[in-house]
Symmetry: C2
Subunit: 294 residues, 2 copies
Amino acid sequence: MSTEILEVRRRWAHLGTAADLAAMRGLFDQEGERLGMPPGVAVQRIVIASRPAEWLAPSAAGRAVVLYLHGGGYMTGSLTSYRHLAGEFAKRINGRALLLEYRLAPEHVFPAALEDAIAAYRRLLDEEGIAPDRIAFVGDSAGGNLVLTTLLTAREQGLPMPACAVCLSPWTDYEATGESMRTKASVDPVITREGALHGAQVYFSGSDPDRPPVAILDADLSGLPPLLVQVGSHETLLDDSIRLAARAGHHEVETTLEVWPGMPHVFQFFYPILRDGRDAIARAAEFILRHTAR
Amino acid sequence: MSTEILEVRRRWAHLGTAADLAAMRGLFDQEGERLGMPPGVAVQRIVIASRPAEWLAPSAAGRAVVLYLHGGGYMTGSLTSYRHLAGEFAKRINGRALLLEYRLAPEHVFPAALEDAIAAYRRLLDEEGIAPDRIAFVGDSAGGNLVLTTLLTAREQGLPMPACAVCLSPWTDYEATGESMRTKASVDPVITREGALHGAQVYFSGSDPDRPPVAILDADLSGLPPLLVQVGSHETLLDDSIRLAARAGHHEVETTLEVWPGMPHVFQFFYPILRDGRDAIARAAEFILRHTAR
C-alpha cells in the first residue's frame, strides 16, 4: 500500500478508538478541521427547520447546486467534520453546496434525519427558488442512505426529482447481508458487520411503527434520477453499492457504478492527502455538471 | 419509446428473422453497411494468422489503439458488419482501431476465436511494436466475452495487460442464470435465454476437454486492467454485466459499470441513428483516452 493510503487507514482507525459517542463526534470534527478548507470557498451560515446548515461557494458560483448529506452512521458527522468535503464539491462543480447538520441518533432516531433532509430540499426548491434540474444530491455512507431515502420520500410526496444523485460508499443494507461483509472484513479499516448492525439498531430504535424505514434494496427505485455510486474495493460495504447499482439498473435508472481498487470507505473524505480521493471527486463533479447543464 | 429506439428495436428483430445462419450473417453485414462509415476514416486491410483484419484510422491518428473484437454470438459478425463501429471508436479516440475477423462457429469452435484474438494482440505488441499502455481491448456481446477470455489467457501466457478494456453488453454467463433472463425477456428485442444457451452449446461443442472454456463469473479476475462495462436496461444480459462488474470489483479491478435505461443489446452498434449510442461511445472513448494517456 502507498504511504498516503496507509495514512488514510490510520486516520480512519483512529476515529474508532474513541471511548464513547461524544468522543467520536469530537475526533470526527478534529479530522475534518485538520483536512482543511479548499481556498476561496466562502461559508455562509443559515438555519433550516431549526437545524444549522451552511452554504459553501467559490467566488463566482454558477448553475449547479449540491445538497450534501454527510455520513457518520446517523450518529456522528457535522458541519465541522464535513465542511472541507462539501466545500470541495462546490469548488469542483463551480457552484454552491448546501451542507446540512441534520439531527443525529440516538438523541433523534428515524425519521428525524430524513425529515431534516426533506426540509432542506424544500428550502432549495421553494424559498431559494432553485430549479430541480440544477440540484444534485450528494451523500456518503449513512449520508448516501439518506440521499436515497430522501429521493424516495420526495417521490412519494410528489416533489420533483433533482437532476442527479451521487452516493459515496452508501449504506444500503440494514441487515448487513453482503458477501463483502465477510470477504473484505480484513481490509476495511472502519466498518464492521457488528458496527453496521448496531447503527441500524440505534437509528431505527423506537421509530414510528406506522412509518417503517425504507429497505433500499427491496424498494421500487424506478423514477429515480441518474445515479453515480462510488465505492472502494477495500470496503465491507462494497456489496451495498453493487446491489444498489444492480437494483437501480433493473429499475431503469441511469446508473453508474465505480469500484476504486484498494480504496477504503469514503476515501473522498481524505482528498487533501489522497490522489484517488481528488480524482473521484473530479469524476463525480463531471457527472453532476453533465446532468445539471441546460 | 422514441422513434429512434423503435427503429433500432425493429432492426435488431429483423436480424432474428433470418432462415439460417448464412442468411443471418448476410443480414448482419447488410445492417453494418447500411449504417455507414464515419467520414474521414481510412481502411487498410491486413492478415493476422490467416485471418482478415483491418486497420481503421482517422487522418491524424494519435497514441491510443483499440483492438476491436466484434459480437455476433461467436457465429456471426465480420469486418463488413462491424467496420462502422470500430471506425467510430478509432475516430472518437483520435487513434487507430484494429478490427479482427476471427474464426466463427460452428465451423470453428472454441478456442479458435480466442486463438485468433491472442494472435492479434501479439501482432500489436510484437510486429507493430505498440506499447501495451497504448492499447485498449473493446468488444460487444460475444466480443465482450472474447475481450475477457483474451485478457485471462494473455495473463496466463505472461503477456502484459493492455491499458484498459471496454465491454459493451458482454456475454459472461454460458448457463444463462441471470435474473434478467426472465425479468427483461419481454423488452429485449434480440437475446433470448434459449438463444444464449444454444450459442454456448454451439461454440463450445466438441472443444478440447483438456482446455475447458473459462467461466468468467467464476474466474479469478485479479490483475485485469481497468474495465468499463456498458449495458442497456432492456437486456436479458443485464445481469451478465452486473455480475461481471461485481466480480471484477471484488477482485480489486478498477471497474466502471454503466446501465443505460431503455437501451437494448449493443445499442452502440446503431450510433448513426441513436443519440444514446453516440453518447455511450463518447464516454467509452473518454475512458480509453484517460487510461492510454502518458
